[in-house]
């Protein structure tokens, strides 16, 4: 593979200075109408400030050199006051995107970003190159002219094995369905109408693709463009969520996919629930989805443990309210109102937990675990077994040990906290042993 060298463009800075001076001119005219001298001085001050800042940012940006070499490395060199050199292995890249903000559209440039495995961010916004070593925003650093951006983007796609060769499935979001909840919201908050219109246009110009080896999300409208490519083999788990209202009305759901290292989804979209999302999960499984080998629901301790601690918590709150305060009528009235509110919260909380207990279920396949839960937003979370790092089984005394149930914690890349919990399972020992056996293999 041939080597590519490139430097970031400084066109955005040049557009920025023009806009800054124009804004300064308007402010100065405003001041100059009343005090001419101050208006002129303000304009001169703004111009000098803009020139200094722009010169500095152009110098910083042009001090970067990028190279994608024949050994699958991205090498970044920087030299201005500080000296900095970084080598990144391309096989660690989990997603590549090329986007254009409104300002970049004016300047005619694009920004390339990529996510890196094990890092809780995506390069470009607060990402790895420059950012966590140098404190610069690499979104600016990787701004390139159209031709160069295309060349670098395609080169990265080739190297990360995510070329968009053959389209397997293409989907365009249903515009009204996608914005339905936003539409309901704008009926109350009328000032959101412009945002709704922009959102409609953006959705209209959005499409999702599954190619032979990658997921592609892209849009191109008057305010900017975006194209994100995620190699299928970099996906760790996915989540499908369906809102009861939008699902019932439009048969659409929300799918999010995650790559190792990030807590945020790398791919998240409203989709026609049954078709496109199934295609993604099928690709993630590496084979056509099969019937689960085990289907479990949380045991009674899922509700009883919650009931116990929730009741203690509210018991303490009730006691404290009766313990403090004088006996005047006003205070008593306030206290009664608080008690009614607390009682409603207590009963409502218990009711929600009970419904959740009834609707939660876990499906265990030979290659994945699926956690289905949620009341209004029903979420189906898929955890491929090969992405599990380690597992834990816990039994609390109240009431899991007494009822011989256990909670399995499944840790996957992307978070230091527990990612997935399968609550209060009766067959926890069998499942835990199977998972350990799988991990050891």
């Amino acid at each position: 593979m041939e080597k590519i060298n490139f430097k970031p463009t400084t066109k955005v800075e040049k557009v920025n200075i023009v806009l800054f001076i124009l804004a300064g001119l308007i402010i100065s005219i405003g001041i100059g109408i009343f005090w001419l001298t101050y208006g002129i001085l303000a304009f001169l001050g703004i111009c000098i400030f803009a020139i200094i800042i722009t010169a500095l940012s152009i110098k910083v940006k042009s001090s970067y050199d990028y190279e994608i070499n024949s050994e699958n490395e991205i090498i970044i060199n920087y030299k201005f006051i500080n000296k900095f050199s970084s080598t990144i292995r391309i096989d660690q890249i989990t997603s590549v995107s090329m986007n254009q903000s409104f300002l970049e559209k004016i300047a005619g440039v694009y920004t390339i970003r990529f996510g890196i495995f094990g890092k809780n961010n995506i390069l470009g916004t607060n990402g790895k190159i420059g950012a966590h070593q140098q404190g610069f925003d690499s979104q600016e650093l990787l701004t390139l002219n159209k031709n160069k951006a295309d060349e670098v983007f395609n080169h990265l796609l080739t190297l990360t094995n995510s070329e968009s060769k053959k389209i397997q499935q293409k989907e365009k979001p249903k515009v009204f369905a996608h914005n339905f909840l936003f539409f309901l919201f704008t009926l109350v908050f009328w000032f959101l109408v412009p945002f709704l219109i922009i959102s409609f246009i953006k959705t209209k110009k959005t499409s999702y693709l599954i190619t032979e080896n990658s997921l592609v999300y892209q849009y191109n409208y008057f305010l900017g463009s975006y194209k994100n490519v995620v190699p299928l083999d970099k996906l760790t788990n996915s989540e499908i969520r369906k809102n009861v209202i939008t699902y019932a009305l439009f048969n659409i759901g929300h799918i999010s996919t995650f790559t190792g290292g990030s807590n945020d989804p790398v791919f998240s979209s409203f989709e026609k629930y049954s078709d496109f999302s199934n295609k993604i999960t099928t690709y993630m499984d590496g084979k056509i989805a099969e019937k689960p080998i085990m289907e479990e629901r949380p045991g009674s301790s899922y509700f009883s443990t919650f009931f116990f601690w929730y009741s203690i918590f509210f018991g303490i709150l009730f006691t404290l309210y009766y313990y403090f305060g004088s006996n005047s009528i006003e205070i008593q009235l306030v206290k009664t109102a608080i008690v009614i509110t607390l009682s409603l919260l207590y009963i409502g909380g218990l009711l929600l937990r009970y419904i959740l207990y009834k609707v939660t279920s876990y499906q265990i396949y030979t290659n994945k675990v699926v956690d289905i839960s949620g009341i209004i937003n029903i979420t189906s979370k898929e955890i491929p077994l090969e992405k599990i790092k380690y597992v834990e089984v816990r039994q609390n005394l109240f009431f899991e040990r007494l009822l011989k149930q256990g909670t399995i914690h499944i840790y996957t890349p992307g978070s230091s906290s527990v990612d997935n919990k399968l609550y209060a399972l009766e067959k926890h020992k069998e499942l835990f042993d199977s998972l350990v056996e799988y991990l050891e293999e």
Binding site: E71, I88, V393, S415
Partner: protein, 298 residues
């Protein structure tokens, strides 16, 4: 491999909770001034929490198995956690100055890929250095190295040889101290205060001796990092786990002719190992790149 069962040293565990006990005492006294019943209530909650935490530590066991490490405890609640060796990216150890020296204990920390911080720790165990070596060996042996020739993979072999590459890498303690002293000197210039001198001198001496005790050993298959003037820390990083290398030289680094090298793994957004205040920065980066190439990483 025979299973090795370990448990935390209870004396050392109690020492680690000393701070907690001091806080309990202070908070309890505050409540005693307000209300005796409240004091008794708060005290009993604290004592119950304390008993719960100590009970967990007493029942905690770590088991080193053939393919994984298992941690379990059984006190009121019950937990079993299993981590396979192949998921571990970094291993490090820590021995504190006084407490661990008295009880002859230490702690081992294990990190996995794709998440921040330590995921698994074997805390306050006896004979921790031997256990550390046992786990390190398991990590090194669990993967085979690809042998490359003219860019092609021609075979694999298990990692058994651990010959050292170069002389030990040490940071320049004097340059590190001077660079830390510079901002302090600037503060003195504007706010001369005799009370600053003693703590500052202690701090600078601490930096000097800490850096003096810090060193890095480069082996053919791993890097070992040692630090600690009072406490002792050790970290082992297999080349297999390295994702990228960063060399960073600030203005002051360039004036003093030193470099900072950050070695990144997939385990965290923070560098796994930072080699700072070293004069041979470029040659270290070059050596690392060559070693990584031999390991089929690039």
């Amino acid at each position: 491999m025979q299973e090795i069962v370990l448990r935390p040293n209870i004396g050392r565990v109690l020492v680690s909770y000393l701070f907690f006990l001091v806080i309990i005492s202070l908070v309890s006294i505050t409540f005693l001034l307000v209300d005796v019943i409240m004091y008794l209530l708060i005290m009993s909650i604290f004592i119950l929490v304390f008993i719960y935490l100590i009970g967990i530590e007493v029942s905690r066991r770590y088991t080193l198995k053939e393919k994984c490490i298992e941690e379990n405890f059984k006190f009121i609640s019950k937990s079993t956690k299993v981590i396979p060796y192949k998921q571990i990216t970094d291993i490090s150890s820590n021995k504190t100055w006084i407490a661990d020296s008295i009880f002859s204990t230490g702690s081992i920390y294990l990190s996995t890929s794709g998440s921040e911080g330590v995921n698994f720790s074997l805390s306050f165990i006896k004979n921790y250095q031997n256990i550390y070596e046992t786990i390190s060996q398991k990590l090194n042996l669990s993967k085979s190295i690809e042998i490359h020739e003219n860019g092609e993979i021609v075979g694999t072999h298990q990692k058994l040889v651990e010959s050292k590459l170069e002389d030990r890498i040490r940071p320049s303690a004097s340059i590190a101290t001077i660079m830390h002293a510079l901002p302090t000197a600037a503060i003195w210039f504007y706010a001369v205060n005799i009370f600053f001198i003693v703590p500052t001198v202690i701090q600078l001496l601490f930096i000097y001796f800490t850096k003096k005790k810090e060193y890095f050993d480069f082996y053919t298959d791993k890097i070992e990092y040692y630090e600690g003037f009072l406490s002792k820390n050790k970290k082992t990083l297999s080349y297999e786990r390295i994702t990228d290398i960063v060399e960073n030289r600030s203005l002051f680094d360039r004036i003093f002719g030193v470099s900072k090298i950050q070695i990144q793994t997939a385990g965290s957004s923070m560098p796994a190992i930072t080699i700072s205040y070293v004069t041979q920065g470029e040659s270290i980066v070059q050596t690392l790149k060559e070693v990584l190439k031999k390991h089929g990483k690039n």
